[in-house]
């Protein structure tokens, strides 16, 4: 009984702790770069691409600041879906949204060089993450209540 109570109480506290971790992480600004993005090179049938892989633990609002000439593209690594595409002439500062946690691939699909830096200014857990924490936390709480209710020592 004490074993199960301790285990469930720890998991319940952990799920509450995760909510606290996310709320304190919201406004913490993370940054990637400055990164140098040369254009894609094609020699015969050999392609070489310089890539930057960014990993974010939450969904994020990203502010990009770029210098140079080119087209900066952001892809979701897992599905290969295009998330954002922005042509740069001389200088640009713009924002885009990364919809979920995971890896994103940043490349330059233009013909000239670009230097970019990315600031992750808002970071929120996705709905799936929130639901998982709420549902598992509630389950731990219910089971803990059951253990306490049927306490046999």
């Amino acid at each position: 009984m004490r074993f199960w109570a301790a285990l469930l109480a720890a998991m319940l506290m952990l799920s509450i702790g995760f909510l606290w971790v996310y709320s304190s992480y919201e406004d913490r600004v993370g940054s990637v770069g400055p990164v140098f993005l040369p254009p894609m090179e094609q020699q015969g049938n050999v392609t070489s691409i310089s890539t930057v892989t960014a990993h974010t633990p939450t969904s994020s609002l990203v502010e990009a600041s770029c210098n140079g000439n080119g087209i900066v593209e952001v892809y979701d690594v897992i599905t290969g879906k295009l998330m954002d595409r922005h042509p740069i002439y001389d200088h640009a500062r713009y924002q885009f949204l990364l919809p979920r946690e995971g890896d994103y691939l940043i490349i330059n699909n233009g013909t000239e060089k670009v230097t970019c830096s990315f600031r992750f200014i808002r970071n929120y857990p996705t709905e799936e993450v929130q639901n998982t924490i709420y549902v598992s936390g509630s389950a731990f709480a219910l089971l803990l209540a059951l253990v306490v209710w049927r306490w046999t020592g």
Partner: protein, 255 residues
């Protein structure tokens, strides 16, 4: 079977050990979660005739983050600390407080008591690490949970094997020092010296550093945990230590 079960229930439901489990799971989980909360990036150049950039197996950020969770210095220091306490509480504290005099006079053989105590500390030790790890991974990556099996497939087997070796080593050390020493505090201090000294000396060929360094390498080509070095420190040494503990508990009187 009923009497063994009763003994097992006693061992599992000790109040101080339950508090230790609570704190261990909570602190290990929070430390793992905090270590994930930052943005990171990696630059690389992909070249070839047929460049593959996308797919679950290419998401290196997620896989390195998960591998880092398994080899956090913070978590392993905390866990070795708690596992030594657990060993001292399981094998030594009952003798210090006098409870052992009644327990060992019950119709249980010393072998049975040793086996049950060892089983309970193994359950506690493995739960304290694997439960928070699983929970942190599943909640942090809940939106991409369908892709997780494919992402972790190349390394998780080897990484978890190394983790199991390390936990086994820590528990075996905790068991032996607790049974050999005349006092719970002494057991704890000697055990911590044994675990911590290789770290101070910078010797990374002895656990725990041996395994902590090896975990991030799992998944890379031509690395396997099934070499003499890892099997020796992860299976043979723990077994030898446990065998010695077994001899001690059979030979020594309960004092």
């Amino acid at each position: 079977m009923g009497r063994i079960h009763t003994l097992f229930k006693w061992e599992m439901n000790d109040l101080i050990k339950a508090i230790l489990l609570f704190l261990g799971v909570l602190m290990a989980g929070m430390a793992m979660k905090q270590s994930l909360m930052h943005v990171k990036s990696a630059m690389s150049i992909a070249s070839g005739t047929d460049v593959v950039l996308f797919g679950p197996s290419r998401s290196s950020g997620v896989s390195t983050s998960i591998l880092e969770l398994l080899s956090l210095d913070d978590v392993w220091m905390l866990l070795s600390f708690l596992l030594l306490l657990l060993g001292a509480l399981t094998f030594r504290y009952d003798r210090d407080s006098g409870v052992a005099r009644s327990v060992y006079s019950l119709p249980y053989s010393n072998d049975e008591i040793f086996g049950i105590k060892l089983l309970s500390s193994l359950v506690y030790g493995f739960l304290m690490f694997l439960l928070p790890f699983t929970y942190v991974v599943l909640t942090t990556y809940a939106s991409i949970v369908n892709y997780l099996p494919e992402i972790v497939a190349p390394f998780i087997g080897h990484a978890l094997t190394l983790t199991a070796f390390l936990l086994l080593y820590l528990i075996a050390v905790a068991t032996l020092v607790s049974l050999a020493s005349p006092n719970a505090f002494l057991a704890f201090m000697v055990g911590f010296a044994v675990i911590y000294t290789p770290r101070i000396l910078g010797n990374s060929r002895i656990p725990p550093q041996l395994f902590i360094d090896a975990i991030p390498r799992s998944g890379s080509t031509n690395f396997t945990p099934f070499t003499a070095q890892y099997l020796g420190w992860g299976i043979l040494v723990p077994l030898a230590l446990l065998a010695l503990s077994w001899v001690l508990i059979r030979r020594r009187d309960v004092v």
